[in-house]
Symmetry: C2
Subunit: 250 residues, 2 copies
Amino acid sequence: MNQVIETLLNHRSVRSFTDETLTDEQIRLIVESAQRASTSSFIQAYSIIGVTDPEKKARLAEIAGNQQYVIDNGHFFVFCADLYRHELIGELREAEVNATLETDEKLLVAVIDVALASQNAVVAAESMGLGICYIGGIRNDMFAVKELLGLPERVLPLFGLAIGVPEHVEGQKPRLPLEHIYHENTYVADAEQLKQELDAYDATIHDYYAARGSNQRSDTWTGQMGRMLSKPTRLDVKDFLKTQGYSKQN
Amino acid sequence: MNQVIETLLNHRSVRSFTDETLTDEQIRLIVESAQRASTSSFIQAYSIIGVTDPEKKARLAEIAGNQQYVIDNGHFFVFCADLYRHELIGELREAEVNATLETDEKLLVAVIDVALASQNAVVAAESMGLGICYIGGIRNDMFAVKELLGLPERVLPLFGLAIGVPEHVEGQKPRLPLEHIYHENTYVADAEQLKQELDAYDATIHDYYAARGSNQRSDTWTGQMGRMLSKPTRLDVKDFLKTQGYSKQN
């Protein structure tokens, strides 16, 4: 197994960083790595905002549900799907682009584009010995994030990414068995078989939570998911998408 | 610069592979690497389908616009956003999960989840000397892909990924300048400034297309984007999302 795959397999989210800030060189390598990810038909439909202003970080932490590691980290990035420059291209080229930008297809394109870029950023950061944590919590109030960061239309702040020198590294949570998520030629949709696999995985996760070094608890994966999915959240995401000019197709 | 970042910065899509197939061990490492990516609140909202059946590969190539490298590669994966197992969890746990699964928020969660996983798969593959090409073209007919791969509701086949031993490696297309996509604290939305930056980038891309080893042409980035975005495509993606139980929130 090579060093790259070791880095990938060794991933765990880090939620506690030292106060060491990233160097400009580290930030540059992380962003350049992000930009090298594949991009759908060369569209490059994303922007990245580095947030260093303490007041803005504090506000983002508040939006994300008072997560201290949004404030205390080596650098904080906000990853945005971005078709704003493509709207400008419509003006530059006198091309009618808006109908295209507003399709659900282009929503998918932009969201996939920015996620591929961000994962390259993560891999780059971890290869330098840094830790990372994705912050989906900024979607608790995308309208507020838009206001805070001065985002124009066609820009969606999808998630934050805290990066820094790890102060504390937790264990790795076991993933679903490979056989459960990987299919060959045909999706195995047999509900009874899948439920049996989920039962077995529940036992694995139960043992993990019971045995881990800190924050031990009695829980299962399906229990955790069942509770989480019983409460619809972020119902204003739909409005925000339309406000920003996404998914407006009839 | 370390080996991992070198791998990331050296990326280019490969569209011509030898007939060498991936080993089971390579496939396992690629899928395990994918599974180690961060996942929103541990939701693990994706599945991966390896397609080896020649007839299915041929049909996927046809759907994707007759791309030969969908057929001729070392292994072909289809990456799917997947909340089907979460619907089963609703049954297992007697939890009302459907309203949550149908929010736009959960569409974003699942699409981001699978994209993070796929990019880890890509980095793992490239670290082993393999080449890759994302195949967004399977979204030309997601209904047909659903039928072909036997996908149940709550599963979205978002893109393919061809992996194999590169037969021919092309040059790297210059990306947008880092300063254009990376902002500090506030998004710089000044249209005139951005248009000037796009003009400069057009010159870079023009030179790249004029000078590259094969398939030389006279083009610019904004010209290419303007033409592409003038024609709305894949207008049935919206219907497909709803058919599969996504983005049905009022």
